[in-house]
């Protein structure tokens, strides 16, 4: 999902940066508020960031014969709310843009929007919906993390199609092509991300049930497991 440095026209680069900035600011405020109220959650915030660091570094092969990586943003969105992942994702993307030439400064806004805004909000919404429909914690977490991952790559495809509409078929023709690269490749990886997020949730629910209960993610009955 990393749009490479210089590969978005100037007006798109600026537009996505302007669109992402308020979310990053909102996220910083919401993290500060949360940590001020619950200082003991600071390390857990680090875990959410670390999870995104690990997963976005894992380039996995996919059935399309190309490689891509998960995003790891679902976990943090469920633990700290969707806005909190915007600044955290921004840090991950900035690290990769500056040191790895992976993504870029001019495309940072667009990449933050897909990975650190759309993904987390999808995760949060899907989780709430699944839980209200009576899904178990594991199923809710799996769906939230997988769909966040997949929708991140769909967003990248939309961004590139807006910047590079097909001369004949326009936006839709481009979208089919970009989504063919990104979204289809991502399907098995999104499933992997869902499985890994359930795995770390299991560990947190087992060893740190107090924190998860404080976040109202699990109720008392579910931590007895």
């Amino acid at each position: 999902m990393h749009i490479m440095e210089g590969f978005l026209p100037v007006e798109h680069a600026i537009g996505w940066s302007v669109a992402s900035a308020p979310f990053v600011a909102w996220g910083i405020v919401s993290i500060k508020k949360r940590i001020a109220a619950n200082p003991e959650q600071r390390i857990l915030l680090g875990v959410a960031a670390a999870f995104s660091f690990v997963l976005s570094a894992l380039k996995l092969p996919s059935v399309t014969g190309s490689c891509s990586h998960p995003t790891g943003t679902g976990l943090g969105a469920l633990l700290f709310g969707p806005a909190a992942m915007a600044p955290i994702g921004a840090v991950v993307l900035l690290f990769q843009a500056l040191l790895l030439a992976h993504g870029g400064l001019t495309t940072l806004g667009a990449n933050i929007f897909s990975m650190a805004i759309v993904g987390p909000f999808v995760a949060y919404g899907v989780f709430r919906l699944a839980r209200s429909l009576g899904a178990s914690l594991a199923v809710g977490v799996f769906l939230a993390a997988s769909l966040a991952d997949l929708l991140t790559y769909v967003t990248t495809s939309v961004q590139l199609s807006m910047a590079f509409p097909d001369p004949v078929g326009g936006f839709m023709a481009s979208f089919v092509k970009f989504a063919g690269i990104f979204a289809v490749t991502q399907i098995p990886l999104a499933i992997s991300e869902g499985l890994l997020t359930v795995l770390i949730f299991n560990a947190l629910a087992r060893f740190n049930p107090a924190e998860l209960r404080a976040m109202k993610l699990i109720d008392r009955a579910e931590v007895q497991a």
């Binding site: 092969p61 990104f182 098995p188 359930v198 947190l204």
Partner: protein, 131 residues
């Protein structure tokens, strides 16, 4: 994750989750057919999706010129993979630390409870003897 699950069931679920990820990562290596070698004799397979998107931009709009370059490029593929490994290692180390601390705390809490239980039993015993 219902309240009726026992720790052994949870462990089985975790093992299945890990197996699922491994299978999903290995399966493509088996089922994707190797394409014919390109003009340079290299077989292009399992390249990055990001690179493919870059090439697609070139196809859709051959006139497009990137207007900004990365400030620092990793000097080689090896160095890039070292940095990616470093990124993953730092993250995994932190997660391992947190879970390790939680696990030890849980264990000590349980031992403390057992100890308290023993002390209470001993105190009751003493009380009976005194009467």
């Amino acid at each position: 994750m219902s309240s009726t699950q026992k720790p052994t069931q949870k462990r089985a679920q975790n093992i299945l989750l890990i197996l699922g990820v491994i299978v999903l990562a290995l399966l493509p290596l088996w089922i994707v057919e190797r394409p014919a070698a390109g003009p340079d004799g290299e077989v292009a397979i399992f390249g990055g999706a990001d690179d493919q998107a870059k090439n697609l931009i070139g196809e859709i709009n051959p006139e497009y010129q990137p207007w900004f370059e990365s400030l620092i490029e990793p000097a080689s593929g090896e160095i890039a993979s070292m940095l990616f490994a470093l990124q993953a290692a730092i993250g995994a180390g932190f997660i391992g630390y947190y879970i390790g601390v939680g696990r030890t705390r849980e264990k000590m809490r349980r031992e403390m409870e057992e100890l308290r239980e023993e002390l209470r039993a001993a105190a009751e015993q003493n009380g009976k003897q005194d009467q």
